[in-house]
Amino acid sequence: MDLKRTVKFEADRDPQFAHWVSHTVGGERIRHCLQCGLCSGKCPLSLYMDYTPRRLMHLSREGFKEEVLGSTSIWLCTACYACMVECPKQINVTHLLYALKQRAIEEGRYPRRFAIPVMSRLFARMVHGAGRITESRLVVQILVRTAIWRLLGMSKLGMALLRKGRLPMSSEHIQRRKEVATLLDSVAATRKELAI
């Protein structure tokens, strides 16, 4: 039997993280959370999470950064907003999960071949380059990087979609591609200037 000490010391907490959480977009009302669990009950994905959204709320406001940023929950959120609309304390749970996800990416805290961050990255890259998304290409790229064996299983569906004219392989892009690049450069510049 593998026994683990589960005690937490004050030194395990990161008060700065707790402070950041309650000041970031979406986290403003987190101290009001009464731990009723409505968010978890509403969440269609909570069944698969290691920490339910409710537990994430509490861990975050207490500053248990390791647990929060290391949890699978932040990657599972599909942004369906069910938690946020119903929260009896009007906590913007969905957006807070976004913020946590971004924080995890910034700190490089996700499994390398985990499909969700991979997809996010590829998606961003494609938008940056073409201004639009070509779904067929995105799917192929994701699968190549995460689980190439699954491509084989997908081929049947892919063929069906192709036949129905739903998977145009030609690349979609906007005309003034430069505009998007300039736009994104400007965002990066402002972000740097304001240190946000």
Binding site: A115, V127, L184, T190
Partner: protein, 291 residues
């Protein structure tokens, strides 16, 4: 008035039938639209979750381009609808976001005016066109076709003001106006898993199965959706999710396809043939003959 039209990437890919049927319906109902000049990807949920500031800037470019053309945008894709709305909200609420966006648009010669309303086709059809006009134009009544109205998440939550976020009924009413019978569907706003099917297949397949079985259990013969990703998920993975649970086969179409059918749009013009699970058997069983 001409609406600015923002198709979004999906309507040019897997969701082609949505665009085809929507435009067919709008044509019959004499709603004029004009595609936004050189629109770009809105960033969708994916971008928003990794880099929200950039995502707001991307969305704001579309808003700024559109406001040169009209005071209202029609955004049929749920993700686009949400992102454009959210961008407007957050620019209003957070001065920092406003600053970033204003500068970014300035760098490409655009200005953000906050003078445009983002509308979903459900909203436009129900509130601008009106049930009365639609009912009058019905040529092929749907004869009590039992439909489960599936709204998904992002159309109603959290920014829609045109419908009840907890219990939306706009699609119900539009379908009923065309003669369909809307069945009780408690999962109508439950998430389909979105892109989770692509990234975590097991999770996605379970969610899809629940949605399909919930509709069938309440006697639905067809599921109507209003989002390209929902339609794709529910339509494309019935075999796979059936393998994990028990087999279910039910046609999944865009609500605009049912509307186009009822309003007598020419066959083939609204993409019914693009569905993987064919709807034709149900239609012929109900003796709904379309032109």
């Amino acid at each position: 008035m001409k609406y600015a039209y923002y198709p979004g990437c999906s309507l040019r890919g897997t969701g082609r039938a949505y665009e085809e049927s929507l435009l067919a319906v709008l044509r019959i109902l004499e709603v004029e639209v004009e595609e936004i000049d050189d629109w770009n990807c809105c960033g969708a949920t994916t971008y928003l979750s990794v880099d929200e500031l950039t995502s707001y800037a991307l969305a704001a470019r579309n808003l700024a381009l559109a406001s040169r053309q009209s005071g209202e945008i029609i955004a049929p894709c749920a993700a686009c609808y949400l992102v454009l709305n959210k961008t407007q909200h957050y620019i209003r609420e957070y001065p920092t976001i406003k600053l970033v966006v204003t500068r970014a648009l300035d760098s490409i010669g655009l200005a953000y005016q906050d003078d445009i309303r983002v509308r979903h086709p459900l909203d436009v059809l129900l509130n601008d066109v009106g049930l009365e006009k639609i009912a009058k134009k019905v040529k092929v009544p749907l004869k009590g076709l039992k439909v489960a109205p599936y709204y998904g998440c992002q159309i109603v939550r959290p920014y829609s003001t045109f419908d009840d976020q907890r219990n939306p009924t706009s699609m119900d009413r539009l379908l009923e106006a065309c003669g369909a019978k809307v069945v009780h569907y408690p999962l109508k706003t439950r998430c389909c898993g979105g892109s989770q099917k692509g990234t975590l297949p097991e999770v996605g397949l379970d969610l899809i199965h629940y949605l399909l079985s919930g509709a069938v259990a309440n006697g639905a013969e067809v599921i109507a959706t209003a989002c390209p990703l929902c339609q794709f998920n529910l339509d494309s993975f019935q075999d796979e999710s059936g393998d994990r649970h028990h087999p279910i086969h039910i046609p999944v179409v865009y609500f605009t396809q049912l509307l186009a059918l009822a309003l007598g749009a020419p066959a083939g013009s609204f993409g019914l043939h693009r569905c993987l699970v064919p709807i034709e058997p149900v239609l012929s069983e109900k003796e709904i003959a379309y032109a």
